[in-house]
């Protein structure tokens, strides 16, 4: 008997599309996402876009205040620092250092962390107990302290800072992947495909990853805001980016001595960090919200 379709046709979009649908609905989150994309593009194209070199000293224009100040100069929109370098150019260049590198750092640690995490989720017994405890220990050490220790071992410098932050972030990804994979593994659909004869690797790649990818992406946004703050903090403490590089934290610490004469050298990098972290957090927050909603319905 041919049955009429009485219910409206149900279209079930994939989880990611569904999340994106919910994600798009929140205006604030979309603003954050826009800022995130803006920063991302800035990070890639800043060398082409900067009006001035961010290293060249311009000794004729020392400590010019931002353009809106009475003494400001329109050609230096955000003013200059104590060596006459254009703040705008430096901040733009800084976007690729602080923000861009944090992105790279997160990607690297995500790949390594997810790999270790999924392997460790499949192991049991003494190995997994040891790994658990070891992760607990690493997670109990403050991330900045850990990064500082690693920088102390490797020596200061931007590259070493990045490796340190990668190493710090890996355990978090391992932790979240391991828990997520374990949770999924205990679910019935995994049992079903196991009964179908799928091996662990197949289950991981076909059944589990599509279901935990959102969790991992969310952790990645958290990790990125932490990475931005850590890169900046290490730069601020003088352990990160070497001197002429306009990393935002390092710029801020450079401006420290000028705090009372040229406050913009302190405010602007700080605001830049704040802006990028807020953008990242908004994206993460929106993603969390979208996930929650798509789960509820």
């Amino acid at each position: 008997m041919a049955r009429n379709r009485i219910y409206q046709e149900e279209e079930f979009p994939s989880p990611l599309v569904q999340s994106w649908h919910y994600f798009r609905q929140n205006k604030v989150v979309m603003f954050g996402f826009g800022s995130f994309v803006f920063l991302f593009l800035l990070a890639i194209f800043s060398p082409v876009l900067t009006p001035y070199s961010s290293f060249e000293n311009n000794l004729d224009h020392l400590l010019v205040p931002p353009a809106w100040d009475v003494n400001g100069d329109v050609s230096f929109l955000l003013g200059t620092d104590n060596l006459g370098r254009d703040m705008l150019s430096r901040l733009m260049h800084g976007a690729s250092l602080t923000f861009g590198l944090s992105f790279v750092v997160v990607i690297i640690s995500l790949l390594i962390g997810v790999f270790i995490g999924s392997i460790s989720a499949l192991t049991t017994g003494i190995k997994s107990i040891f790994l658990n405890h070891f992760l607990d220990v690493i997670l109990s050490i403050p991330s900045l302290l850990l990064a500082i220790i690693i920088v102390a071992i490797l020596g200061p410098g931007l590259g070493n800072t990045l490796w340190a932050i990668v190493l710090v972030l890996i355990p978090q990804f391992v932790h979240i992947t391991k828990n997520a994979v374990k949770d999924e593994f205990s679910k019935d659909y995994v049992l079903a495909s196991r009964l179908d004869g799928a091996n662990s690797f197949r289950i991981l790649s076909y059944s589990i990853f599509p279901n935990i990818i959102e969790k991992i992406i969310r952790q990645a946004t958290l990790a990125q805001s932490a990475a931005i703050l850590d890169i900046a903090a290490l730069g601020f403490l003088g352990l990160g980016a070497p001197i002429p590089l306009p990393e935002w934290g390092a710029m801020l610490s450079n401006g420290l001595d000028l705090f009372y004469i040229a406050p913009w050298t302190v405010y602007l990098p700080g605001l830049a960090i704040l802006f990028s972290v807020v953008a990242t957090n908004l994206v993460g927050e929106g993603m969390r919200h979208a996930l929650k909603q798509s789960k509820e319905n």
């Binding site: 009485i6 219910y7 409206q8 149900e10 609905q25």
Partner: protein, 329 residues
């Protein structure tokens, strides 16, 4: 006089882009000393209805009714606070999963004592604590828990499900309610425990003349313990009548189908034959059919079913169907 008289109660769920009518014009009435069963598949809005009566739905749910009388008082004319105080004074409810309805961080004794009505206590405030405690112990005795000492000191997770349900009943009894709403009180219980709980409820009904609204998805089980039954389907009123009427001469195709699907009720069923079931499943809230919601599944459905049927009363046996089975008997 009717204890409770509800006409055309609707419950709407307000979501971001649309509103869903989860309970659609349901009427319900209760007499004093009556045990009424409220039956329907899971998701048919029974629990919602109960929670709407007791007033514990949160603000996402909007409740309307044409009439909402409690012992002759029109509750709709009262302010929410007054309504709440009257209801909470006279109506008590026990929930599906007793374990999750007890605060896990507070001892049973404290939670019981909290439920004891202050007005029932006499004496000075320093005596009250002691009185509360003894009242709590008495309540435990009433529901058949004899080892009250241990029970009072326990936390909910240390007790069994059945004990928790007894505690819930004890708590419900603390106010000496006129009406007890039992929302699937035996949902996750062993059969032996189920019997105990039902017997306890029955004895309460007989000894204290307490009305009980027994909510269940199991029509057959309910018939043992109730005088009257109301059947719901997908948020709509289906049929109401005495247990006998419903059990022997159901007028609504849905009730018929429910009975047919139960091997015990279906005495004529020949051995090894199939149980009759309705095709399809209960619709999800987002995609409710218009008119009679049973329509798409109903074996007797016709074009008229796209309109919601009116309730027809045959000597107290109410049915809501365009093509009732009355004539087939």
């Amino acid at each position: 006089m009717n204890l409770l008289d509800i006409r055309n109660l609707s419950i709407e769920l307000q979501t971001t882009n649309k509103s869903i009518l989860a309970v659609d014009h349901v009427s319900l009435s209760m007499k004093e000393g009556e045990v009424r069963g409220l039956v329907g598949e899971s998701g048919s809005g029974k629990s919602l209805l109960a929670q709407a009566i007791i007033g514990v739905l949160d603000e996402r749910w909007h409740v309307h009714a044409d009439r909402f009388h409690w012992r002759g008082k029109d509750l709709l004319r009262l302010s929410p606070e007054e309504r709440k105080s009257i209801i909470s004074q006279d109506v008590a409810m026990i929930f599906q999963e007793p374990m999750s309805c007890l605060d896990p961080t507070t001892t049973i004794g404290e939670q019981l004592a909290e439920a004891v009505d202050t007005e029932q206590l006499s004496g000075y405030f320093w005596q009250k604590n002691q009185q509360r405690k003894s009242a709590a112990i008495k309540l435990l005795h009433k529901v058949g828990i004899k080892h009250h000492d241990q029970c009072i000191k326990s936390y909910p997770h240390q007790l069994t499900e059945a004990l928790c349900q007894r505690v819930m009943i004890a708590m419900a009894l603390a106010k000496r309610p006129m009406l007890l709403i039992a929302d699937e009180p035996t949902a996750a219980m062993e059969t032996t425990n189920q019997g105990q709980i039902f017997r306890l409820l029955a004895s309460l009904n007989q000894l204290k003349n307490m009305s009980i609204l027994l909510i269940s998805h199991d029509l057959e089980n309910v018939t043992h313990w109730t005088n009257n039954i109301t059947v719901m389907y997908s948020g709509q009123f289906v049929e109401a009548g005495t247990t006998k009427q419903i059990f022997t001469e159901p007028y609504h195709p849905y009730t018929r189908a429910l009975l047919d699907s139960s091997p015990k009720a279906n005495i004529e069923l020949s051995a090894k034959s199939r149980l009759t079931t309705l095709p399809g499943s209960i619709p999800i809230l987002q995609h409710l059919p218009i008119g009679c919601r049973l329509g798409p599944r109903c074996p007797r459905a016709q074009q008229a079913c796209v309109k919601a049927p009116k309730v027809i009363n045959y000597h107290g046996h109410q049915v809501s169907c365009h093509f009732s089975l009355k004539d087939t008997y």
